[in-house]
């Protein structure tokens, strides 16, 4: 079930392991990088999962559709250290590198909120969206972690590389997750 891929850690201090697995029950794929003090886990969400999730929280079908098609992943990010420096994240510095086209950051919450403003989405629906997405900027003290959705943008089924950046106590960290794949619309 689990395929271990030892990928070269570009820009970091040493080689790092990226673990890729597929849930046999759902078929959903997960990519995880784990260092001594931080871990990043990304699990695919099917477009239908996102449609159902947001329609259940006040989104009209037409409003849920652009999110569902935006390559949604569930992210879990931890500061694994028991003590020491915090980890600072800024998703606007991450880069989605599609097989074709230019690298770009994930689509961030502020950008979505502008769209919801234009679509005149209800207040409760926007509140649900705000808390569902991974915060654009967040500091993780030792032991802190968070879970939330990240919208990477490519179409369903497309592959891309993801460049992650962070700072721990001001020192930059960097890892590239290769050949990630947006969940297909029809699994």
């Amino acid at each position: 079930m689990i395929v271990l891929q030892a990928l070269l850690f570009s820009g970091g201090a040493a080689a790092a392991d990226v673990e890729h697995s597929r849930d046999p029950a759902t078929g959903l794929e997960t990519w995880q990088w784990q260092g001594d003090t931080a871990s990043f886990t990304f699990t695919q969400r099917l477009p239908d999962q996102s449609r159902a999730y947001f329609q259940g929280r006040g989104f009209a079908s037409a409003d849920a559709e652009p999110v569902a098609m935006a390559c949604v992943f569930q992210a879990i990010i931890r500061n694994r250290a028991g003590s020491g420096a915090p980890i600072d994240l800024d998703l606007s510095g991450w880069r989605v590198i599609p097989a074709q086209g230019s690298p770009h950051p994930p689509r961030l919450e502020a950008d979505w909120q502008q769209e919801w403003e234009r679509r005149q989405l209800s207040g409760p629906a926007r509140t649900a969206f705000r808390w569902s997405l991974f915060p654009t900027r967040q500091t993780f003290q030792p032991g802190d972690w968070n879970m939330g959705m990240v919208t990477f943008g490519p179409p369903p089924g497309d592959r891309f590389d993801l460049e992650l950046t962070w700072k721990r106590g001001g020192t930059p960290g960097h890892v590239r997750l290769e050949s990630m794949r947006c969940a297909p619309d029809q699994p």
Binding site: L4, D17, E19, Q32, Q34, T41, Y53, R57, R78, R80, A81, G82, S83, P86, G123, P124, T127, A128, R130, W131, S132, F134, P135, R137, Q138, T139, F140, Q141, P142, G143, D144, W145, N146, M147, G148
Partner: protein, 186 residues
């Protein structure tokens, strides 16, 4: 060859996801800003006002039923509550953005006895210095934010509760209130 195989076998457990126990920590908030006050109704319609609880530590947990780590920490929070309610500590769980029917159904699967309050419009959670769910604050007896935890915890862990219980000793050492907490405490 055999040595290589043994080495790989020895290393495999360390490669497993989450094999290492994760730390259980509360982050001290050194500036101790005043916790934004609120008055919110619980499932029974009873109003709970934070500032009415001065004189005792209060754990304020922000959560939602759709948030997996929020659900995961609920049983340990209940076990913590069973101890804390006799130790002079209050626990309030503020649900963000959901209605009582949804939460009532949820408590069928996750029975808890501590008060669950409703912040349906998100106005209270928006006033607290938090970005994601769950986030839990520990308010000291003077009404100031003393600790914060981002993400779920095992709340019945004695090492996690000890600093909360120690706050009871500070009840007699009240100091001048600070400015209310806004934005990011980090």
């Amino acid at each position: 060859m055999l040595r290589t195989l043994l080495l790989i076998t020895a290393l495999l457990p360390q490669l497993a996801v989450g094999a290492t126990p994760l730390p259980q920590t509360l982050t001290p908030v050194e500036s101790r800003p005043m916790a934004p006050d609120f008055s919110l109704q619980d499932l029974d319609g009873e109003v709970h006002r934070l500032s009415a609880l001065r004189g005792r530590p209060v754990i304020v947990n922000f959560w939602a039923t759709w948030c997996p780590p929020c659900r995961e920490e609920m049983p340990s929070m209940q076990r913590a509550w069973e101890r804390l309610q006799t130790e002079g500590v209050t626990l309030l769980a503020v649900n963000v953005g959901e209605d009582p029917d949804t939460v009532f159904q949820f408590t069928g699967s996750y029975p808890v006895e501590f008060p669950i309050l409703f912040d349906r419009e998100g106005t209270v959670s928006g006033a607290w210095p938090m970005l994601g769910l769950p986030t839990t604050f520990v308010v000291d007896p003077q009404g100031r934010i003393a600790y914060r935890a981002i993400g779920g915890r095992e709340w019945d862990d004695p090492t996690l509760l000890q600093p909360v219980l120690e706050l009871r000793n500070s009840a007699a050492n009240a100091t001048t209130p600070q400015q209310p907490a806004t934005g990011n405490l980090q």
